[in-house]
Symmetry: C2
Subunit: 276 residues, 2 copies
C-alpha cells in the first residue's frame, strides 16, 4: 500500500506482560524503564502477585503509562449465581485498572457454557451492561476484544470485529470500545471495512504475528515479522479510522518466554519499527 507510513520510533509501543509471562511485573516495569519503552499492559495475576498499590507506585515512579489491564470478561456461566460472581470479579478488575491508572480494561468475553453460543452472547451483553456504569464512574474504558474463532469454545463467544462493534454500539463509545488484535482478526474478509466502521470506538491495538503452519493456537503466536499478517496494512486501516493510541505487543509463545527479558525487549523494539 502506498499510503503506509512506517513507524520510526517506539513512542507508541506498549509492552504487554503476556509477552514475558515468566517475568514478574516488577522485572517487566524495570526492563521497560531501562529500554525506554513508554507503556505497559498488565495482567491481573501479575498485579495480584505484586499487590495493586505497589504496582501503581512502581509504574508511577518509573514514569511508565499503563495502556490496559488484562482481563475482565468471562461473563457466561450456567447459573445466575455464577454470573453474578463473574460480574463482581469484573467490578474488582475495574477498581484495579483504575488504581494503576490504566486507560482500558480489556474484556475477553467468555465462551459458551453449554452448547448454546447464542445464549452465551446474550449473557455477555448483560454482563457488560452490569459493569459499564462502574467503569464510567472509575474513569476506565471497557475494551471488548473479539478473539480468534479458534477460542470460541474456551475463551470468547465474541469472535468477529463486526459482532464486537454491534455489541459496543449499545453503549457510549467513551465508556465501551473495541480492542483490535491482529492475531484475532487478520483473516476476516470484512476486517478493514469493520475497522473503518469502528472509528473512535477503537480502544486499543495489539500486534504480534500468525505463524505458518499453525498448530498450537494458544501458545504459538509469533513475533512481528515471523508470520503472514499484513501488519502495516492493518495499522494503516486502524489509523485511518482515527486511532493514534498505544500499540501493544502481546505474544503468547513459550519459545519467547524462555528467552532473557532484556533480549525480548530489544527484539520487540526492533521488530516494532521494522514490521509494525
Amino acid at each position: 500500500m502506498s499510503d503506509v507510513v512506517p513507524l520510526t520510533d517506539v513512542r507508541r509501543l506498549s509492552f504487554n506482560q503476556a509477552t514475558a509471562e515468566k517475568s514478574s511485573l516488577r522485572e517487566v516495569i524495570e526492563s521497560c524503564a531501562r529500554h525506554e519503552v513508554p507503556s505497559i499492559s498488565i495482567w491481573r495475576h501479575k498485579l495480584a502477585e505484586l499487590g495493586v498499590a505497589e504496582a501503581a507506585k512502581l509504574v508511577r515512579d518509573a514514569g511508565i503509562a499503563v495502556s490496559s489491564v488484562c482481563r475482565g470478561g468471562m461473563f457466561p456461566a450456567p447459573t445466575q449465581a455464577a454470573r453474578i460472581d463473574r460480574i463482581d470479579d469484573n467490578l474488582r478488575a475495574i477498581d484495579e485498572a483504575a488504581a494503576v491508572g490504566a486507560e482500558v480494561l480489556v474484556l475477553v468475553c467468555g465462551p459458551s457454557s453449554d452448547r448454546d453460543i447464542t445464549a452465551a452472547r446474550a449473557q455477555v451483553a448483560e454482563g457488560i451492561a452490569a459493569i459499564a456504569p462502574h467503569a464510567a464512574a472509575s474513569g476506565v474504558r471497557l475494551g471488548i476484544e473479539p478473539l480468534h474463532p479458534a477460542f470460541a469454545g474456551d475463551r470468547s463467544c465474541i469472535t468477529t470485529l463486526r459482532e464486537a462493534r454491534l455489541l459496543s454500539e449499545r453503549f457510549d463509545s467513551a465508556n465501551v470500545g473495541v480492542v483490535v488484535d491482529v492475531y484475532h482478526v487478520w483473516w476476516d474478509p470484512e476486517r478493514d471495512a469493520e475497522i473503518a466502521l469502528l472509528g473512535h470506538r477503537i480502544a486499543g491495538y495489539h500486534v504480534n504475528d500468525w505463524l505458518v503452519p499453525a498448530r498450537d493456537v494458544l501458545l504459538g503466536r509469533g513475533m512481528m515479522g515471523d508470520g503472514v499478517i499484513e501488519l502495516r496494512a492493518i495499522r494503516t486501516a486502524v489509523e485511518k479510522a482515527g486511532y493514534r493510541g498505544p500499540i501493544e505487543v502481546e505474544i503468547f509463545n513459550e519459545a519467547i518466554w524462555a528467552r532473557p527479558l532484556d533480549e525480548v525487549m530489544e527484539l520487540t523494539k526492533q521488530r516494532f519499527v521494522e514490521h509494525v
Copy 2:
C-alpha cells in the same frame, strides 16, 4: 430448538476417509459395505494409491455412493506459471471425481502466498472460473468449503460462509456450491443467517465436533458428541435451507486414527443418530 427432528437411521451418512487416514481406500469401502454405510467421501491421495479405475470398480460393485472427492483448490501461488499448474491439477481432480461418480469436488481454496490475503482471494476466484466449465461438462459440482480462520495462513483464505456464498454467486449454482462443515463455521455469529441465504447452493454438509480446550486445530477434531458444537441446531438450519443430501463425517484426529476401522465405523454410526 423445538423444531429439531433427530436422525433415526444412517441413510444419509457418508464416511469421509479422513476419519480413517491409516486405512486404505479398499479397507474403507469394504468396511462401509459390512456396516451398511451407504456413502463415502474419497481423498485423492487414497485414490492415487489404489488407482482411479480400480476405485471406481470397487465402489460400484459395493453399491456405495461417492458423496465427494477431496480436494481440489489451492489456487493462490506467487507466479502465473505456478497458478496454471494448480489449475491443471484441479482439472485432473475433476476427471478423477467424474471417474468415481462423485457428486462434488470439494475445494479447499488455498492460503495467501505472500502476506496479501486480498490478492489470494482474487486468485481463488480466477482459479474457480478457469475450472468451472470443465466441471460442468464432467457432471461434477464444485463445492467451495470455507475453512476455519485458524487455517487462513496455510490452507484457505476463504474463511466464512458469507465469503464463500458471495464467491459462489458468481457462478451457476448447479455448477458451483458451498460445503458447510460444522468445525469450520460453528462459531460464526452469522452462521444460520448465511446458511439460509445459501439455500440450494449448499453442496455438502460435514459433521464432527470442536473439542475444548482447543490446542491442535489440525488434528484435534472430535467425534460428534465429544465437543461443544450445537450439531442438531446447525443441521436443522441446513435442512430448512433445503439441503437433504449426504452428511459426511470427517474427523482428523490421531486418537481416532489409531483405533480399529470397524470400531470407528460402529462408533460413527452410533454418534450419528445420537448427536447429528
